[in-house]
């Protein structure tokens, strides 16, 4: 019973793409075939026991019928180690995992909001959602934006890319939520808009609030710490308004923003 979600994935290419990011293309035909925007994979960065756990990464694109793309930022031990993996080697890959973004309906105008390193799953969504898409990108400064190539790719895929930086070094000065709010306020026909957001918790809470104020549906991708990715360890819990927790890896990572208990969430997680 070899599962079709556990793979030795061949590294097709692996290159730095600027601003601290790497682009990793993996050959994993079954995963590539079934992957949906918003889903993720767990990658083991080495065969040693330190680091021990696999790392979760969103799928940023399906490149061909057999390959998928990961865009990752080097932030710590695991991602640093991952950078040394060479094309031709293979990595243990588990996925696709989780539930993706609900598929935009025909008339929907998807509004994507990315903060920090939350853009990869949204890139895949843009790839699938077609040209009506709006993308909001926010960062502290120009250097913290996604790699220039990715911004370009977004510009090709989407109708419009709106950029904001705290210091005004690129796009408008402000946060992505500031310019999102302004955009929503001035947009007249809001009934087809749906928000899809991924980024730090504080930003997701803010987006969620704006969505509620404008009465627009909003889906957020919650990047929690994960051990198993399979719903077994109960480590990736997201607090629900209705009480209790749901698992980001199984019932998520994408949730309807109204389901989530943002008060507790924001309180506890201001770190990220």
């Amino acid at each position: 019973m070899p599962s079709n979600r556990l793979h030795r994935a061949l590294i097709v290419s692996h290159k730095p793409v600027g601003r601290g990011y790497y682009r990793l293309v993996l050959k994993a035909p079954e995963a590539a075939r079934s992957a949906l925007p918003g889903q993720f994979v767990m990658l083991r960065v080495s065969d040693t026991l330190d680091p021990l756990l696999a790392r979760p990464f969103g799928i940023s694109a399906v490149i061909s019928r057999s390959s998928l793309e990961i865009l990752y930022r080097v932030v710590g031990k695991g991602t640093t180690m991952l950078t040394t993996a060479k094309a031709g080697q293979s990595l243990s890959l588990l996925g696709p995992l989780g539930k993706g973004f609900p598929r935009p309906e025909k008339k929907t105008v998807p509004v994507l909001v990315a903060g920090g390193s939350g853009f990869p799953p949204l890139h895949f969504l843009a790839q699938r959602a077609g040209s009506r898409t709006h993308l909001f990108l926010g960062a502290r400064n120009k250097e913290c934006l996604p790699p220039a190539d990715i911004v370009r790719s977004f510009k090709e895929l989407a109708d419009k890319v709106h950029i904001a930086t705290d210091d005004g070094s690129a796009g408008q000065q402000g946060t992505s939520t500031d310019i999102l709010d302004a955009f929503l306020t001035k947009t007249e026909r809001r009934e087809h808009l749906v928000l899809y957001a991924c980024g730090p918790h504080a930003m997701l809470a803010a987006v969620s609030k704006i969505a509620a104020e404008h009465a627009i549906p909003c889906y957020v991708s919650m990047e929690e710490r994960m051990a198993c990715g399979l719903g077994a360890c109960m480590g990736c819990s997201v607090p629900m308004k209705a009480g209790g927790y749901k698992r980001a890896c199984k019932e998520g990572p994408v949730f309807d923003s109204r389901e989530i208990d943002w008060s507790e969430q924001v309180l506890l997680k201001l770190k990220r």
Binding site: M1, R225, L230, A232, G235, S237, P239, L268, K271
Partner: protein
């Protein structure tokens, strides 16, 4: 599969003269009789790391396992601790899940029917916040079908009351296990805490209370701090350390316990490979449970099983009894 509980204390099974010799080594006998429960092989899943089986059925044919020990069950549903609940450490991880579970009734109605479809032993890990709750769960499990045994968790470091509070006090351990013993005829396995000065005293208390086996070890109590935020990495502050990092402590405790009581032992703590499992068997465990390794490799249980079988072939060992407890400690 019939799950008998006669001949309780025995780890042994009848000799089968037809299986001795060369042919036996080509397909070594991995079956064991654990506290009267027949297991196809000694590889189980550690509680809390394999869900209720279903989560892994895509990767592991549950029929191939010696048994499944399910995530801990309590009388009422439990919400668990706020996140963050896990943190990685060198060759290990900390968790403070807080025993989130749907409660014994939902477990019996929604999870057991799935597990009953398989021809594998099911052990239900359970706990309570009071002696009465422990007894309550045991009573409900007693009547249920398809349960091979109960693993009583008296060692969870992640809940304030209950759990470890019982498992680190000798008298409380004895009283609790005695009460649970009265509440069920199912084989009882006490899951001991490693966070004690002398694990053998607790092993003896479990034997005296009438338990049929021991599980060890549960996680070591640990803590990690985010030095920039100056906050613990876990919302619960402390958590349980598991994974390869703790294996030397686990092997030591299994060895100590095996020398001090005659109860069969399920050994666990950092098992990733067949060789790791062999260390526990040689130290005196009759079976092993694979825990954290399931997270880094969903097929870890089967890899461990293959590893044990391959090792037995390589070493020309026909029967597990030639291994269990056979470390030559001088």
């Amino acid at each position: 599969m019939r799950k008998t509980k006669d001949n309780k204390s025995a780890i042994r099974k009848e000799t089968r003269p037809d299986r001795i010799g060369k042919s036996a080594i080509e397909s070594p006998d991995l079956s064991i009789d654990f506290a009267g429960i027949k297991l196809k092989n000694p590889v189980l899943t550690a509680s809390g790391t394999f869900g209720y089986g279903e989560e892994f059925a895509e990767f592991v044919d549950l029929n191939k396992l010696g048994g499944v020990i399910v995530k801990g069950i309590s009388l009422k549903p439990i919400k668990g601790n706020p996140p963050p609940r896990i943190w990685e450490t060198p060759s290990g991880m900390l968790n403070a899940i807080g025993l989130e579970n749907p409660g014994v009734d939902v477990f019996l109605n929604e999870k057991m029917p799935y597990l009953r479809k398989y021809d594998t032993a099911v052990f239900v890990n359970m706990f309570g916040y009071s002696l009465e709750e422990y007894v309550g769960v045991a009573e409900r499990l007693d009547g249920a079908q398809g349960i091979s045994g109960i693993e009583v968790n008296i060692s969870c470091p992640n809940v304030k009351a209950g759990g470890m509070a019982f498992g680190t006090d000798l008298r409380a351990t004895f009283e609790l296990l005695s009460a649970v013993r009265k509440a069920t005829r199912l084989p009882l396995i006490a899951k001991l805490s490693p966070n004690v000065t002398d694990v053998t005293a607790f092993a003896r208390a479990a034997a005296d209370a009438g338990c049929d086996g021991l599980s060890l070890i549960n996680t070591l109590l640990g803590m990690a701090i985010d030095v920039r935020c100056r906050k613990p990495r876990l919302a619960n502050c402390t958590g349980g350390l598991s994974g390869p990092a703790i294996r030397p402590v686990a092997v030591r405790m299994v060895w100590q316990a095996a020398r001090s009581v005659s109860l069969p032992i399920i050994g666990m703590g950092g098992i990733v490979t067949g060789e790791d499992a062999m260390e526990f068997l040689l130290a005196g465990a009759s079976a092993v449970a694979v825990g954290t390794a399931n997270f880094i490799n969903p097929r870890a249980t089967l890899d461990v099983l293959d590893g044990i079988e391959g090792f037995m072939r390589e070493q020309k060992i026909a029967d597990l009894r030639e291994i269990i407890g056979k470390v030559d400690a001088g």
